[in-house]
């Protein structure tokens, strides 16, 4: 537990030792808020909710979370520091958890900085706080799921670019499976509905949508947590090279 804490601290503050953190925070805020305002027609919709804000989250995460996650292990492998880290008295599970939680905390910080959006909505109208609250919970959970996949792909290579592309591809598939446009396409080529439903069950969007509408179900929570657990387990196995 204490080693997780030490790794967490090192990693979390590590983001701020380089310009990466600030660049990420700025790009994330501009992208998420900008998309809501200009593409999502936030003002024209005249709707005191954050639906249009949450709508773009999976797409913003698709590129920005791999950018945060690609360095998690790939950088350690490139510099050889994972040899230093893993020969300290720490288990691989603790090391993976410490680094993952630091990344997740950093992204959560970025997400919390968008709280200006609900403040704006509250200033302009009279929003229902339930869906906003559950939407933020969903956003943070989904970010964790994205990041766990990035942590895994990052452990597979010492090249950050490869790690980035791999994780974008995997996340893209997991987003697409539940995207209505993609599902409509599948329906139009006569794929049975039960197959489409089964596929969309693996999607981030399918399990994120209800939360933006105020619905937190056990099934959705389990989906995200088990996805995180599964990715991190594979991450540990990859690092231990025990197969």
């Amino acid at each position: 537990m204490r080693t997780i804490n030490a790794i967490f601290k090192r990693e979390f503050f590590g983001y701020f030792r380089s310009p990466v953190a600030y660049v990420f925070l700025i790009v994330f805020l501009i992208a998420s808020v900008g998309l809501t305002w200009f593409v999502g027609q936030f003002f024209a919709a005249n709707d005191a909710s954050l639906n249009r804000f949450f709508l773009f989250m999976p797409w913003v995460f698709l590129f920005l979370i791999p950018a945060v996650g690609m360095r998690l292990w790939a950088e350690e492998k490139r510099l050889g520091t994972w040899e230093l880290l893993l020969t300290l008295p720490v288990t691989t599970v603790e090391a993976v958890l410490g680094k993952f939680l630091a990344g997740w905390a950093f992204i959560t910080l970025a997400i919390l900085l968008t709280l200006t959006m609900p403040i704006t909505v509250a200033y302009l109208g009279n929003p229902d706080w339930g869906p906003i609250f559950s939407g933020y919970i969903g956003t943070i959970l989904m970010a964790g799921a994205f990041l766990s996949i990035c942590s895994l792909t990052s452990a597979l290579t010492k090249n950050q670019v490869i790690s980035f592309i791999l994780s974008v591809i995997i996340c893209l598939i997991l987003v697409f499976l539940g995207w209505s446009v993609f599902n409509n396409l599948l329906t139009s080529i006569h794929i049975p509905v039960w197959i489409i439903d089964a596929l969309s069950n693996f999607s981030f969007i399918t399990h994120f949508d209800p939360m933006t509408k105020g619905l937190i179900t056990i099934a959705d929570l389990i989906f995200y947590l088990s996805l995180i657990g599964f990715s991190l387990l594979l991450n540990v196995l990859v690092l231990e090279r025990s197969f």
């Binding site: 601290k9 090192r10 510099l79 008295p89 090279r241």
Partner: protein
């Protein structure tokens, strides 16, 4: 303290380390020698639990690295090849991180440990500098400091002086030698002078197999010129003197190379006194007489090329 038994490592169909066993005790500085690609680093990585072995056992101070890795890892300090460090951290931040990972939580305990290694490795002037701005010598000393921060009974170092200039090499060697008495130390290297200057045991490994495991002195005895004597004369007329030397019962062979005579003894006996006495008695026109230098690299060459 450090014990490896029947260690094997396969990478696919390639056997990188082939059934090696050795033991390092307190007070030993074991030089782990071998050509590049011989399996030195692989062995080091297995000893520290970084790389799982295909078969065999490793015990650090009676703790098995595979069965009880945490306990075993507390007992050694490891300096990986090239001393990897987090580039953007300062020296103090790195040492602080290592101290926390090594379970020094109390502020006083932590700062005590950090101050100790800063003192030993002379890092005071670069304390607040980030790693990426350090020279190679300081970089290596920071790595060294992080390896000995918890004052471990065992030290495992992979090419600790690689890439350093001669002065820095000397400093690092002095550091290692200064803590030899109360520790078991393994260091891998391909620099033979290093082995001669600080190690009291040598293992040569080639193609994953141990070729020799002995003291540097025993290794020197493998040289065909061990205890040979080099004689330089002031006159050109050497036939008479040669004959005299040849008649000594301890002498096996004489080789002449321009004005230097190389006298090779039988069974590596120490003959310099005998030759010198004979020279004095017979008033040879001596310019110099000395033991022939033993070049470890020649022994290494002979061992690893056959």
């Amino acid at each position: 303290m450090i014990e490896a038994k029947n260690l094997v490592k396969d990478y696919g169909s390639i056997r990188a380390v082939d059934n090696i066993s050795f033991q390092v005790n307190k007070g030993d500085i074991l030089g782990f020698l071998g050509p590049n690609g011989a399996g030195k680093s692989t062995t080091m990585k297995m000893l520290t639990g970084f790389l799982p072995s295909t078969s065999g056992t490793i015990r650090i101070g009676n703790k098995d690295i595979n069965e009880d890795p945490l306990a075993a890892k507390r007992l050694f300090g490891y300096l990986p090849e090239n001393g990897p460090l987090y580039q953007e951290m300062t020296v103090l931040e790195i040492l602080d991180f290592i101290a926390e990972m090594r379970a020094a939580y109390l502020l006083t305990e932590k700062s005590e440990k950090i101050e100790r290694v800063i003192e030993i490795c002379q890092l005071k002037e670069v304390c607040n500098q980030s790693i990426e701005t350090l020279s190679k010598g300081f970089h290596q000393r920071v790595s060294f400091a992080s390896a000995i921060l918890h004052d471990p009974p065992c030290l495992i170092m992979d090419e600790p002086t690689d890439g350093l200039d001669p002065n820095q090499k000397k400093q690092v060697r002095n550091l290692i030698a200064s803590m030899a008495e109360e520790k078991a130390i393994i260091l891998s290297t391909h620099i033979l002078e290093e082995v001669e200057s600080i190690c009291n045991r040598v293992i040569i490994i080639d193609k994953g197999k141990i070729l020799v495991d002995e003291s540097p002195e025993e290794m020197r005895q493998r040289h065909p010129h061990y205890n040979a004597v080099e004689i330089k004369l002031r006159s050109k007329d050497t036939a008479q003197i040669k004959k005299m030397i040849q008649s000594l019962p301890e002498v096996k062979e004489i080789r002449t190379n321009s004005d230097v005579m190389l006298v090779i003894p039988k069974e590596g006996k120490n003959i310099i006194n005998i030759v010198f006495d004979t020279a004095l008695k017979n008033n040879w026109p001596l310019a110099s007489i000395e033991k022939a230098p033993i070049h470890m690299d020649e022994i290494f060459w002979n061992l690893t090329q056959n």
